[in-house]
Symmetry: C2
Subunit: 226 residues, 2 copies
DNA sequence: TGGAACACAATAGTAATACTATTGTTAAAA
DNA sequence: TTTTAACAATAGTATTACTATTGTGTTCCA
């Protein structure tokens, strides 16, 4: 059995693309290979020209799917957050305890990927590396307000709100549920990045995934305790 | 009285520049105006050509001080962390309590700037905005390992270690002092950014500075409690 | 079965970017 | 006085991030 999710498709809001890349094989190739190429080259050195060469087409074709490199990044990141939200809803569906749901959310944010939740042309593990290293660049721009108005960050915001609600259920008096969730989400990313590249900034060992989850779980539950 | 610090100069490691910008008036103009222009245009739209026009010189002159736009960013950020470390050492100099020193560190990381600690040609408040919006771009690159080897992130790492030691003094058993410090440092940045641009991701009100300090102080002291 | 519509390859071109290299002038240091 | 330094001025390169146009094969559907 290849996947639990043969009939599930993660979708991304229409506004993000010019033409739905899920609707054609060329489009799927663009997604699949852009993930591999951004991971390999980094966002700065990644160009539509190089991507076009890799999939045997031309820049013009890619531009018919995505307005710009920036919008392709927004697409990949939105897909990632929608995927994470899907897994969160799935794995908390029959759980009553808000504490337990929050625990699961932190586990997912820390980067735990189950192999039976994969999609045909998306390398989730590689995509996660891209999200760690590049997602901040999607909003750290002068266009952030305009982009936000267009709803480009909606996937991320919705996921954070969902997790924030677990916290509010556990302790309605806690003053900073949204800040705590975004801190954990972002922290998860750069603690992974630091453990790989700037290890003196972290106590998390690159090879031991459980440590990050432990650090964040400890942080959150101590913070929100009544 | 213009400044407490007429005889103090914040220096940046030699490796970061080709020619010390503090050594000439042109160099100081480059620093002063690059801060203003990066803040105005954002790092992506900022170019040496535009900076050269602003200070009535040419690209070539700026290239004699800095190898690239990236190195200029590294310079500004290193200067910022050195400045923050100086203020930390200054304001904790005659304080014995590690708790109180940690409190002060968090206050500084949250962005509190005293007006009597300014330097002639550096707009500290504007520089802080740059650090919030652009500093992650200094290390989120494919060159991070090479840059780290060159010592480009030493200022940041040294400051974090210093604060981490306060935590280790308070609770030597706490497992994640370095991760906690880097989480607070980074969190301070994007909570400020979120409060301005993506307010649904935070409970911090852009206009109320004390909230961020309160959020982070609460987070840290609950985390490290024995 | 014919015709429209679509997907895309191929080609060309543009303004801007991130640099590098060279030369000549002026002013200050040895 | 000579040398050096600082820098303005100019020119030039490869690459990037696009836009525009045209032609061809395939698919849809009436």
């Amino acid at each position: 059995m290849r996947s639990l999710l043969a009939n599930v498709r993660i979708t991304v809001d229409e506004k993000v693309y010019l033409k739905d890349p899920e609707s054609t094989t060329k489009g799927q190739q663009i997604i699949e290979n852009s993930i591999l190429l951004i991971d390999e080259l980094g966002l700065e050195s990644f160009t539509f020209k190089k991507l076009a060469e890799k999939i045997g087409t031309t820049e013009a074709t890619i531009y018919r799917y995505f307005e710009s490199k920036h919008m392709l990044l927004v697409y990949l990141i939105s897909w990632y957050w929608n995927w994470l939200e899907y897994r969160l809803v799935f794995s908390t569906s029959n759980i009553a305890s808000a504490e337990e749901k929050l625990r699961i959310a932190i586990r997912l944010l820390s980067g735990k990927v189950e192999n039976d939740m994969d999609f045909a042309h998306i390398s989730e593990v590689v995509l996660q590396r891209i999200v760690v290293a590049e997602s901040a660049k999607a909003y750290l721009t002068k266009e952030v307000d305009a982009d936000n108005k267009e709803g480009f960050f909606f996937s991320y915001k919705r996921l954070c709100k969902r997790i924030s609600m677990f916290i509010q259920e556990i302790n309605p008096a806690y003053k900073y549920p949204d800040s705590l969730v975004s801190t954990v989400a972002e922290s998860a990313h750069y603690q992974i990045f630091f453990s790989k590249h700037l290890p003196s900034l972290t106590n998390i060992d690159d090879s031991k995934k459980g440590q990050l989850e432990d650090f964040l779980t400890d942080l959150v539950f101590k913070a929100i305790v009544k």
